[in-house]
Symmetry: C2
Subunit: 218 residues, 2 copies
């Protein structure tokens, strides 16, 4: 379809921008409310603590309002808002327009928070280097099977809100089984936000994965 061809062309254009400016872009996708905004804020805090020189930026994709951009500002993080209107996903043209309007000089890692939707966003490349999918344990362990496209195309799956495991009937083994069947190369992290009751070293492993992935792009 012509629409997808145009999108792929613009995605390649965005990637050229990123590579010229030495920016590594991560596309964060999930169903609504899986915890993208919360996780990106915590990751940037951890990255800043680990590597003083690193500079992180955020692009927020939402259909209505700028609630997530405001949450970023409250956490001391500058975020650029893209209003996607009727589209339930970010696409390459929206990002291209922003990249031409704003300056992302000195940004090392750019987090692209996509619209909360477990289907459409997977079909629109943005020019990102890595795709990260979040699945919260409160959604159910069958989602990778029921909504496969997103999980097939990603580099990492983050199982979020694991502090809720005692209160839901989510099996980490079943979810990971579905993910490995679809995408054996994806890294899988089961985490909870710092401060919640859950083994925190997995969060640190995710931070390391992010840094290693970013450094692998040169």
């Amino acid at each position: 379809e012509k629409l997808m061809e145009d999108n792929d062309q613009l995605a390649r254009h965005n990637r050229e921008h990123f590579d010229e400016e030495k920016i590594v872009a991560f596309n964060f996708m999930s169903a609504p409310g899986a915890g993208k905004t919360t996780l990106i804020i915590e990751l940037i805090k951890a990255l800043r603590a680990k590597e003083k020189e690193i500079s992180c930026g955020v692009v927020e994709g939402d259909m209505v309002g700028d609630l997530d951009t405001k949450r970023m500002a409250e956490a001391g993080i500058k975020a650029f808002q893209i209003s996607t209107g009727k589209a339930c996903h970010l696409d390459a043209s929206m990002l291209a327009r922003l990249l031409h309007q704003e300056s992302f000089e000195n940004t090392d890692i750019l987090f692209l928070e996509n619209v909360g939707n477990l289907v459409c966003p997977a079909e629109f490349a943005l020019g990102e280097h890595f795709n990260v999918v979040l699945l919260s344990v409160s959604e159910g362990d069958d989602k990778p099977f029921k909504y496969p496209i997103m999980f097939q195309k990603c580099d990492a799956v983050v199982l979020t809100k694991c502090d809720l495991l005692p209160h839901v009937d989510f099996s980490l083994a079943r979810a990971e089984g579905f993910i490995k069947e679809l995408n054996p190369r994806a890294s899988i992290f089961d985490i909870s936000m710092p401060g919640k009751l859950y083994d925190s070293n997995k969060f640190d492993q995710l931070v390391s994965w992010l840094l290693t992935s970013a450094k692998s792009v040169s």
Copy 2:
């Protein structure tokens, strides 16, 4: 757009079918994993206990597989599977095809479980009498604001998994405030599945709402 006109025409056609056969149809929509399947099973159990003569049917809309239809069968409920393929929503033509193939004779209440997606399903009328939107408290209290279309068009909003309230930062008042701004006439129910720690009379109120709504269609 011609697509939507065709859909609306078929939706009217489906409604004629429903009205001829005295079937009342409820369209259940939500983000993935908000608890549609779990709730429909519990509602049918409660309806059967309350009114012996009532006959309930289920149509399951999914992109991949028939996991929810199998869960219905395990609960002793006959469900018809519609595989929506690449479409992340049920539409009127899919339902029309099913209504012409299968017999829904003697069905009083038909539950249409839509594909898990907080955007597209709201735009495709199916011929249903009532729209019900589920929002689980683990998704966040800002969702009605961020994904308004679905909440604007519905007859009832069910806030699910309220047993998780002590473990998430969800404000019932904030969520209800957003819903009332968008849709003052929607009934709002905060519930948890039977057996979970939460005030159970709201679940009973939802069962009554369902019966009263069904009886109001004559």
